[in-house]
């Protein structure tokens, strides 16, 4: 019986890809291990191999097709003695029904859409499509515009925005360079540095050995020596190996030297849970770094913030910890088409105005916050949604002004609950706006457990839109 070849999931977060090129044609015999096609994911172009021998019976998806969903049949293989005629008689799985029937990895898309929360399914769909309308990223802040009205906008992924920010700053200042694992020839483990090696050369785009502690220290020393390093950690999980250099060397030297020297540099990379990569690769370090005087800490949500804040980070004369998110990398947002667009630190963004409750979040937590706000609006509850964007310094005033207006606050963050930034915000609100509160502040955080691998448990370990909705109901006594 003819066997379908399905679009493979080539990374933990891949939901679709481009079928860049076929290396076989119909009628070719292939052996196990032969390369069938080149597939471009959001991270890299990868070769796709045959798992068993056979003949290519039919190619179902033409080369150059973009947006091919994981698990879509892309070709049909024939066994010995079969012919193309057998294909038509065989039942073909519909392309839009993902499932493990054809073998291969279970796609994360499936894990997400299979969830019992309709909202989550909708979110996954919006992510996969990346299109306008479906994406909460389309909500535009009215209260706090970061660009003049009427500015031309274009859709860009967070990944592209980060790359553009680095490229622009590297063009402007020859002392800016980027170092890290796989940033150069591999074009970035998550493709964030794609193209930088070609434009700036190996002197300024430097592949390091896998040695976080050492290269973070070399980066700090280079900053002492007058350069403006961008140190990429493949993920912030690995930066724990280097945290002494980030805190003791980078953050404290300006103070210890009485203002004589410091470390103007950026430590950046993906932070927080990706998808199904378990405990050691899924942690949000926002609260850890935000704890440290001498560091500035940024955790952007949208592409425009990613770009504007990274450019500010590179120019800042202090060490900046820039926490990105793998799941957000592929999401598209409107980014202003401006020659030199930056966003200042310490300024929150009000994504939507409302009078009933304040929801404060940042980074990927914003997906839950905005989704909850949409659903609350359907019930007639108007939430004000604030994206902190920078976690040190924090724009307390915007939060407090909002709480004084709504008298209720829910915080949303992905990190662990104990000693979280949410706890800190609650304390500040209590101290400075106690008389305005009509209910205790509720913190929606990740659960107090190491991240489990199992799909259902992972979902439970993260905070959810439903939890945000529940918290809002509590503080509004509904």
């Amino acid at each position: 019986m003819p066997t379908e070849v399905l679009m493979p999931a080539l990374s933990p977060t891949m939901e679709e890809g481009t079928l860049a090129k076929w290396l076989v044609k119909e009628g070719d015999s292939v052996a196990s291990g032969d390369i069938l096609a080149e597939i471009e994911t959001d991270k890299a172009t990868m070769e796709f191999e045959a798992v068993e021998e056979g003949t290519v019976g039919r190619i179902l998806v033409e080369a150059g097709t973009e947006g091919v969903k994981v698990n879509t049949p892309i070709a049909v293989m024939l066994d010995e003695g079969e012919s193309a005629d057998d294909i038509d008689s065989a039942a073909r799985a519909p392309a839009d029904e993902p499932g493990p029937s054809g073998g291969g990895e279970k796609a994360p898309a499936e894990a997400k859409t299979a969830g019992d929360s309709g909202a989550d399914a909708g979110q996954a769909k919006a992510e996969a499509e990346g299109g306008p309308g479906a994406d909460p990223g389309q909500v535009t802040s009215k209260a706090s515009p970061d660009w003049p009205e009427g500015t031309e906008m274009r859709q860009q992924t967070v990944r592209e925005a980060l790359r553009d920010a680095m490229a622009e700053e590297m063009r402007a200042d020859p002392n800016v360079f980027v170092m890290g694992e796989e940033v150069a020839e591999y074009q970035g483990a998550y493709k964030v540095t794609q193209g930088l090696l070609d434009e700036f050369g190996a002197k300024r785009v430097i592949d390091t050995p896998i040695t976080e502690h050492g290269f973070a220290g070399i980066g700090v020393g280079a900053a002492f020596g007058g350069l403006r390093p961008i140190v990429e950690f493949m993920t912030f999980n690995f930066a724990m190996q280097a945290i002494d250099q980030i805190i003791n060397s980078a953050a404290k030297t300006l103070y210890m030297s009485g203002g004589q020297m410091g470390a103007p540099m950026v430590f950046r990379g993906p932070n927080g849970a990706a998808a199904r990569v378990a405990a050691q690769h899924s942690q949000d370090y926002a609260a850890w770094y935000a704890h440290i005087p001498g560091l500035k800490v940024v955790q952007p949500y949208s592409a425009s913030d990613a770009k504007g804040l990274l450019k500010t980070a590179i120019r800042d004369p202090n060490p900046v910890v820039f926490l990105e998110n793998e799941i957000l990398y592929g999401r598209s947002f409107d980014v202003p088409v401006l020659e030199d667009f930056t966003i200042p630190f310490g300024k929150a963004r009000i994504w939507r105005e409302g009078s009933d409750v304040t929801i404060v979040s940042w980074g990927i937590g914003m997906t839950y916050a905005l989704e909850a706000a949409d659903r609350l609006a359907e019930d007639g509850v108007e939430a004000e949604v604030i994206d902190l964007r920078t976690l040190r310094p924090i724009d307390y005033d915007t939060v407090l002004a909002s709480v004084m207006k709504t008298n209720r606050c829910v915080t949303v963050e992905e990190g662990f609950p104990v000693a979280s930034l949410s706890n800190h915000l609650s304390a500040v609100i209590m101290e400075r706006a106690f008389d305005y509160l009509d209910a205790p502040v509720i913190n929606c955080t990740g659960k107090d457990v190491p991240m489990p691998y199992a799909a259902n448990l992972e979902k439970l370990a993260l905070t959810t839109t439903d939890e945000v909705l529940e918290a809002v109901r509590k503080v509004t006594y509904r």
């Binding site: 003049p148 050492g214 220290g217 020393g221 280079a222 002492f224 001498g294 500010t312 004369p317 202090n318």
Partner: protein, 349 residues
């Protein structure tokens, strides 16, 4: 690549003036440290205070091999390095007493002093952590295309830290102009080298990375200078890093609160009597008629005055203003006049 022991016995060609200046510089460190010990005893210096007494020939010999613009970075036993590179004893002593006139305005203390002017990059308190920082300084020099060399000092204890080897690898891979100076004073705090280190020859520790190394008698300032010259020439010519293991000895405890149970009084006494680097140069000056007893007395007197003056300064300098608590946490200015006005306009629009 070669790892070797330096040739012993070769009579170095050194001028009377150079020899006298080594004597003077080493004596300054010793007298300064003795005074610091005294002030610590009086409660004027607090916290950790690690004295350099006994190791003077290491920094003085290597500073004699350095050129203007070369950089240096070290750990927390750092007073000697600062004095040897020309930092003002008043500022160093006032930092020890935590006063406004100190190099870090009293906010760094014994372990954290810096001088941009003298290219002294600290003063770091975490064992081994200054080693990648030193390589990073060398990385910057290479990137900027100048021919500077960075002296990165650390001890036999730090030589067992993992990040030191991560740094060796990258320094060799990228041909960074850095001299790794291992000041082997035989004890990592209170642990003798043979009890902490699987192979005793630290100068061979770069072999696996292709870094040449050399062991040097650190009680002989001329041997240190000669080895320094060689290492500097190697680095400056673009051949990458170099390791100097300098065998030295600290006469005082690890810090001021060292119970000294891990070695005998006799061992320390023997080193002082037989190996002392300052006494050795003093004898050399006299033997070769480069200086008379009176000349040396004049130097001793001059040093004593400098040190006493620094102690007076350190006592009289006021404590930092309370506003200093909240200053220097963040740098305000954007270097190179980099403008983000565009964005500000955007914000206001």
């Amino acid at each position: 690549m070669a790892t070797r022991k330096s040739a012993a016995g070769a009579k170095p060609n050194v001028s009377a003036d150079a020899l006298k200046s080594y004597y003077r510089d080493m004596l300054l460190i010793r007298r300064f440290e003795e005074k610091a010990g005294q002030l610590y005893g009086m409660g004027l210096i607090g916290g950790f205070c690690h004295l350099y007494i006994g190791q003077e020939a290491v920094v003085v010999g290597l500073e004699a091999a350095a050129e203007e613009g070369d950089k240096r970075i070290t750990t927390y036993r750092d007073h000697g390095h600062m004095l040897a590179c020309g930092m003002n004893p008043d500022g160093v002593m006032a930092e020890l007493t935590g006063r406004e006139g100190g190099y870090s305005k009293g906010k760094g203390g014994s372990m954290h002093m810096f001088s941009k002017e003298k290219h002294f990059y600290g003063g770091h308190g975490i064992v081994g952590a200054n080693v990648p920082l030193g390589a990073g300084l060398a990385f910057a020099d290479k990137y900027l295309g100048n021919d500077r060399v960075t002296f990165t000092y650390f001890g036999d204890g730090a030589a067992n830290q993992g990040q030191v080897y991560e740094t060796f690898n990258m320094a060799a891979l990228w041909h960074l102009p850095v001299i790794f100076v291992i000041e082997n004073n035989q004890y990592a705090m209170g642990t003798a080298q043979k009890r902490s280190t699987s192979t005793p020859d630290l100068y061979t520790r770069g072999e696996a990375f292709g870094i040449p190394g050399e062991v040097v008698d650190g009680m002989d300032v001329l041997a240190v200078k000669a080895a320094g010259d060689k290492a500097v020439a190697h680095c400056r010519s673009g051949k990458g890093p170099y390791i100097l293991e300098i065998k030295t000895y600290r006469y005082r405890g690890h810090s001021m609160s060292d119970p000294a149970k891990y070695r005998t009084r006799e061992e320390v006494q023997k080193m002082r009597e037989e190996k002392d680097a300052i006494e050795r140069v003093r004898q050399m000056l006299l033997d070769e008629d480069h200086a008379s007893e009176d000349d040396l007395k004049a130097i001793d007197k001059e040093i004593k005055e400098i040190v006493n003056q620094s102690a007076e300064f350190a006592k009289e300098s006021p404590e930092p203003a309370v506003e200093e608590l909240y200053s220097d946490i963040y740098a305000e200015d954007l270097p190179q006049g980099e403008a983000i006005e565009t964005s500000d306009e955007t914000e206001d629009a």
